[in-house]
Amino acid sequence: MESILFLIIFPLLTGVALLFVRNDSIRRIIVRTAAFLLIIASILISVRYFDSGLELSLHKEWINYGMVAIELALAVLLIAISIKHKKYLPILLVIIQTTIINWYEFSYSHEVEIHADIVIDRFSLIMILITGVIGSLICVYALKYMEDYHHHHHEIKDRRNLFFFLLFVFLSAMFGIVLSNNLLWMYFFWEITTICSFLLIGYTRQDIAVKNSFKALIMNLFGGFGFAAAIMYLGYVVEIQELNKLPALAQSGIELLIPAVLLAIAGLSKSAQMPFSGWLLGAMVAPTPSSALLHSSTMVKAGVYLLIRIAPTLGYNVAGILVMMVGGITFFLASLMAITKSDGKKVLAYSTISNLGLIVACAGIGSYESIWAGILLIIFHAIAKSLMFLSVGTVEHSMGSRDIEDMHGLIIKLPAMALMMVIGIAGMFLAPFGMLISKWAALKAFIDSDNILIVLILVFGSASTLFYWTKWLGKLVAVLNKYERIPAKLTFDEWVSMGTHALLTVVVCFIFPMIGNHFIEPYLNTQFAQHLGSVISDGNIKIMSLMLGMVLLIPLGLIVFVTLKEDRIVTSYMGGVNRGDNRYFTDSKGQAKHLYLSNWYMEKYFNEARLSTIGNITTSAVIIVIFFMALGGVL
């Protein structure tokens, strides 16, 4: 039973080991082996606990004290770093939080009865699989990436041992979050992810990195503060300290508004929703594997994980409206802002924020259908987004730029990477692929829950999503006969990592009905006392699969087409002033001028600063109003 702790302890140990390894090949062996073991372990555990689930209680005082000790140590560490960089807000937040939680821990927590510190249900299994598989693959990918990274950036000190240490600790903490049922445990791991992300973002120690890392720290600490407050409230007032008790309590009509709001704030900040979205954009300064980790499988997913967990609680009160509104607004505005970006990672960041907004909105609605959709979104997003990050990272290292404009004609320059990206992008928004299926389910859920405003936001938001993804896709497929192939040597690690991702993106689309039947629905049945079955009908699934089949035939068709074609190749249309090779035309002065085709960014129209101000103000207003409503309702 305790074997489950392997998931937490093993990555931790690996991380510690890596901290002391400075030799590349040893590190490679350790990381590969650890990743392999983690993947196997996640799968085995899923199989093992698929039917039975697990409720494990470890009445071990020393664990709690250990946690307290670590927490205090980390608090001291944070304070020290903050003092060093002359940042005082984090100090304040750290102190308040640590005080609250310790005070609660020592004064009251003994009186709350804990049935299970660790609970595994089908939802946890999904999260374990995501973290285990995607997270490990990212770590493997990071091996080569970081090597190149330091090769390119001599100004940055090589602290790869620390980097890999953090990656694995992160995984460990993430497993901790999804396994914990005891809120105090969860809080512990939650804070660890905060600190890890803080350190990862600040990895390069450049000014901008430091600045952004503190931004992330402050926002996450703020959320952590909400978490701590919620724990305290729950412990004192409701006398529970377990996550899985919440839905039942909510259904029995116990007033849970305040903790719901507080937990929601924690979840929103971690999942980078407006007004907290700033940290995630800032996190882009970190090396790509850490972005991939933060944005796809861990960190932000921890936020939505919490929200989905408490979703049944949210559905009953204004906290639900809070979450729904914040999610909805974030979804819409972030996808509009993504339109204005040409930096590949920035687009991915906005898209992450936006997609998480959708998941958050699903959680906020809190109905059977919406949670169904939300969980599906988590899965598909994790895979496809991770794939995108990794591809962008590799492309950046191959061409020296991650700007989408520079990816013009990637299909010629780096066909393999272009293919990866095409799969990733298709996975993010295109018809028979995952995200779209989930969006479809979400749409249905929103309509059925009569939240017409959210429906409206969804339709407009997905239209904008379509815009920025397709224009990226367009850049990739632009074909110019004269482009040179860029010699890119993908290492085995990269291949394995990205290849698996790509494969998963496609495979999961085929098996999503099974995921629905065997993972999501059983979980929802326990949460809601009724059985509603699949959100998407069988007939439609069949048609979807047919479509998917058709789409998958495209590469094959392309090869046949290209082989059979008999086109006469001519120059492209330039009003007659071609210079022969489609790249140059004769300009007004009679000289050769380079044709350049840029995408649209409409910066005036979807002004980033303006939209984010609007978003931050409205979401803050929503949060504040509802927070005080909650307070008022209680007082």
Binding site: A431, W440, K444, V455, F467, G474, V479, N481
Partner: protein
């Protein structure tokens, strides 16, 4: 099942015929409105058959393939529609197919086809919300996304969805590529982006685009049809009459307006969607 199979087959075989004929009538009527005699009624067919016999030229090896996919998926979309499938799925398939033509234009990597592709994308972004809202409107009234169910509702849907109908008509102009919304490619008047997305396509590929548009137009008329048919047998006549009238109205609009710039095209269709669609839905919810 057999019935729906039948209508799919009918669509696949008659679709282009009807679509081409509509195009022919359109051209004739437009010509008369312009005080000209106009081309023969069957001109669109002559054009396509001619295109098929031309030499095929291309800028690169793969651009034409995307168009092939475009055609296939348009047919797929229409078939799904006439099969009586799920209307949301139909819309997703439609989006997918439209993306193929955009990608085709992008892949040609030529000045005007790329700009046309960006404009086409913008148009897609502009009309997509309204199309989805239409489906949602159907769902809210009939409790089903299934086209067969939608068609057998007990009253004509337009009575419940007048706002959505107007909104849909608004963006229909865009889908039919008619002025004032022919910003990505114009059939008639000349344009700053030459032939927009179709600039680099010629010969049989252009013919494919043309045929795909015919299919698409027929299928779009199907959408209009949905607003006007109900359970009553024989109501399909009303539906068809409505389609004819609406198409005529579109021709008038086409011939009586200048081309909008993208800013207006985009914002007006979003505003139309938000205002008309939203109000209509809101009223429906309140009535519930």
């Amino acid at each position: 099942m057999a019935g729906s199979m039948m209508s799919v087959l009918l669509y696949i075989f008659l679709g282009p015929l009807v679509g081409g004929l509509i195009a022919g009538i359109d051209r004739k009527i437009s010509a008369r409105m312009q005080g000209r005699y106009g081309p023969p009624l069957l001109q669109p067919f002559y054009d396509v058959l001619k295109l098929l016999s031309k030499e095929s030229i291309a800028v690169n090896g793969i651009q034409n393939f995307f168009i092939f996919c475009f055609l296939i998926f348009i047919i797929f979309t229409g078939s799904l529609f006439f099969m009586g499938g799920d209307i949301l799925l139909v819309i997703f398939a439609l989006t997918l197919s439209s993306i193929f033509i955009v990608l085709g234009a992008f892949s040609a990597n030529s000045a005007y086809s790329s700009i046309g592709a960006m404009r086409e994308l913008l148009q897609m972004m502009a009309y997509e919300p309204m199309v989805l809202l239409t489906a949602i409107g159907f769902y809210v009234v009939t409790k089903s996304f299934n086209i067969t169910d939608i068609m057998s509702f007990e009253t004509p849907l337009v009575l419940y969805l007048p706002g959505i109908f107007l909104g849909f008509t608004y963006i229909l102009t865009m889908k039919l590529r008619k002025s004032p919304f022919d910003i990505s490619m114009s059939h008639h008047a000349h344009q700053e982006v030459v032939k927009g997305i179709t600039t680099e396509f010629s010969g049989s590929t252009l013919a494919m685009i043309e045929i795909a548009h015919w299919y698409e137009n027929v299928f779009l008329m199907g959408f209009i049809f949905l607003f006007f048919v109900w359970k009553m047998p024989g109501s399909w006549i009303i539906g068809i009459i409505a389609c004819i009238l609406l198409y005529f109205f579109e021709i008038v609009i086409d011939n009586a307006s200048a081309r909008y710039k993208w800013q207006l095209a985009f914002s007006s269709s979003w505003i139309a969607a938000a205002a008309l669609g939203f109000t209509n839905l809101l009223i429906l919810f309140l009535m519930k």
